[in-house]
Amino acid sequence: MKLVTAIIKPHKLGNVKEALQEVGIAGMTVTEVKGFGRQRGHTEVYRGTEYKVDFVPKVKIEVLVDETELSGVVDALVASARTGAIGDGKMWVTQLDRVVRIRTGEMDTDAL
C-alpha cells in the first residue's frame, strides 16, 4: 500500500479530483496548507511599509493507493495539477505498513 501526497495550487483541485476519479480512485483527503518555495507571495505595502508575504495558499492531497494503481495515479495527478508556472508544487510517495477501513475493519487493498 502506498500513500501519494501532493501539494498543489488551490484552483487546480477540481481538475485533479476529476483526473483521479477517471483513473478509478474512489476517495481522497484534502487539507489547506501554506507553501513556501521558489514562488514567492505578493509584496504588500501596509501603512507605508513594505512586507513580503512568504507563504502562499496551497492544497495538500492525500490518496491511498494500491501498488498496482500507483503509476496511473501519479501520472494523472501530475498532469492534472500542472500549469507550467512556478509554484505548481510537489508530489511524493510513501510506503505504508497497513491500511484499515474504520467502518468495517477491512485491511489494505480491501480498505480502499
Binding site: H11, G14, K34, E44, F55
Partner: protein, 399 residues
C-alpha cells in the same frame, strides 16, 4: 419645513446613508471570501465618488430647472451647491444625495467578482452623472416621465430599483459569466453578514420610504407602517416558496425576501394601505424568488441577483401601484388608467438605462482596454488582485 420636519428629514437622511454600509454587508456576505473587500471597496467608492459628483453636478441635473424639454435639469445651476433656496432645499439636497449614492451601489451585485476596479470607477462615475440624475429628473424633477405620464413613484421603485436592476442585467451580460459558473457552486461566504446587512437595509429603508414624504405627516407614518409590513410578508413568503419548491427554508431566502418586499413597496409606500402592503409583500416574496431562478435558465450570471430582486421587485411595485393605490393617500384612482401611467414610466426608464449602460460600458472598455479582471485576478480573488488585501487573516502565517 417646521423644525420637526427638518429633524425628521435629517434622521431619515442618516438612515438612508446607513443603507450603503448595510448593502456592503448584504452583498459582501454573498460573495466568496476572496472578493469580500472588493465589494466593500466598491460600495465605499459609491459613497465617496457619488457624493462628490452629486454636489458638483448631480443635484443640478436632477433638480435644476428643466432643459431640452424636460430631458435634464440645468447642470450648472447649483454647481457646488450654490444658490440653494435656504434650509428646505439644503435638506432636500442631503436626503436626495443618499439616494444618488445607493442607486449605483445596487448594481454592484450584478457584476461582482469580475470587474476591474478602474473600470468600476469609470462606470460608476459616468452612470452617476448620465443615468441616475437624469431619470430622477424625469420622474421627480418635472422631467419627461412626469410630464408625459405623471407616473407615481413614491420613493424610487422606478428611478432606483428598475433603473439599477436593468443596468445590472446589462453589466452581467456584457461582462460575461464568472469563470466556472454555473457548473461550480459560488456559495456565499458569510451568510450572517448578509442577514445582518438585510436587517440594516430594513432599518434604513424606514428613512428611505417614510422620509420620502418630506415631512412628518400621515403619509410618512403610513409609509413607515407599510414598508415594515411588506418586508415582513415578503420575507416569510420567499421562505415558504423555497421550502415548498426546494425542500428547505434558508436564511438567504429570508434576507432576500425582506429586501424584495422593501423594493416592492418602495414606489407604493405613500399610496397604499395595509392590505396593499400585504399583497405586494406576498407577490414580491414569491415572484422575486422565482425570478432569481431564471438566471440559470437563461444563463446570465447576475452574481448576487440584482435583476431578480431589484428589477423584478421594482417593476412589480411600480405596476401594482397602478391597481393598489388608494385615492385617499395618492389622489389618484387605481385602475388601468393609472396602471398605464406606471407602465409608461417603467418602460422609458428601462429603455434609457439599458442603452446608456451599454454605451458607458463600451466606452469604458475602449478606454481601459477591457473592463473585466484578468483570469488570474479572478482566480485568486479581486481583494488580492485589485487591492492587495485579504479579507480575513486568522493566522499569523500571512496572506
Amino acid at each position: 419645513m417646521s423644525s420637526a420636519d427638518i429633524a425628521w428629514m435629517l434622521f431619515a437622511s442618516a438612515l438612508v446613508m446607513l443603507m450603503s454600509p448595510g448593502l456592503a454587508l448584504f452583498y459582501g456576505g454573498m460573495v466568496r471570501a476572496k472578493n469580500v473587500l472588493s465589494v466593500f471597496m466598491q460600495v465605499f467608492m459609491c459613497m465617496a465618488l457619488g457624493s462628490i459628483l452629486w454636489v458638483v453636478v448631480g443635484y443640478s441635473i436632477a433638480f435644476g430647472d428643466s432643459m431640452a424639454g424636460g430631458l435634464f435639469g440645468d447642470p450648472t445651476q447649483h454647481f457646488l451647491l450654490r444658490d440653494l433656496d435656504g434650509i428646505d432645499e439644503t435638506v432636500t439636497v442631503i436626503f436626495q444625495m443618499m439616494f444618488a449614492i445607493i442607486t449605483p451601489a445596487l448594481i454592484i451585485g450584478a457584476f461582482a467578482e469580475r470587474m476591474k476596479f478602474s473600470a468600476f470607477l469609470l462606470f460608476t462615475g459616468a452612470w452617476s452623472i448620465l443615468v441616475y440624475p437624469v431619470v430622477a429628473h424625469w420622474v421627480w424633477g418635472g422631467g419627461i416621465i412626469d410630464d408625459w405620464f405623471g407616473s407615481l413613484d413614491f420613493a424610487g421603485g422606478t428611478v432606483i430599483h428598475v433603473n439599477a436592476g436593468i443596468a445590472g442585467l446589462v453589466t452581467a451580460v456584457v461582462l460575461g459569466k464568472r469563470t466556472g459558473w454555473p457548473k461550480t457552486a459560488m456559495l456565499p461566504h458569510n451568510l450572517s453578514m448578509t442577514a445582518f446587512g438585510a436587517g440594516l437595509l430594513w432599518f434604513g429603508w424606514f428613512g428611505f420610504n417614510a422620509g420620502s414624504a418630506g415631512a412628518v405627516n400621515m403619509q410618512a407614518v403610513n409609509a413607515f407602517l407599510v414598508t415594515h409590513i411588506a418586508a415582513a410578508t415578503a420575507s416569510l413568503f420567499w421562505v415558504v416558496a423555497e421550502w415548498v419548491k426546494d425542500g428547505h427554508p434558508t436564511t438567504l431566502g429570508a434576507a432576500s425576501g425582506a429586501v424584495a418586499g422593501l423594493v416592492g413597496i418602495t414606489p407604493a409606500a405613500g399610496y397604499v394601505g395595509v392590505n396593499g402592503a400585504l399583497v405586494i409583500g406576498v407577490l414580491a416574496g414569491v415572484l422575486c424568488y422565482l425570478a432569481v431562478g431564471l438566471k440559470s435558465r437563461f444563463e446570465y450570471d447576475d452574481s448576487l441577483d440584482v435583476v431578480g430582486v431589484h428589477f423584478v421587485g421594482g417593476l412589480l411595485g411600480a405596476l401594482l401601484t397602478g391597481f393598489l393605490a388608494t385615492q385617499g393617500l395618492s389622489g389618484e384612482e387605481a385602475g388601468f388608467a393609472l396602471f398605464g401611467k406606471q407602465l409608461g414610466g417603467v418602460v422609458v426608464t428601462t429603455v434609457y438605462s439599458v442603452l446608456m449602460t451599454f454605451v458607458i460600458l463600451f466606452i469604458a472598455d475602449a478606454l481601459l482596454k477591457g473592463i473585466r479582471s484578468s483570469e488570474e485576478d479572478e482566480v485568486r480573488g479581486l481583494d488580492l488582485g485589485d487591492h492587495k488585501e485579504s479579507g480575513y487573516v486568522f493566522t499569523e502565517m500571512g496572506g
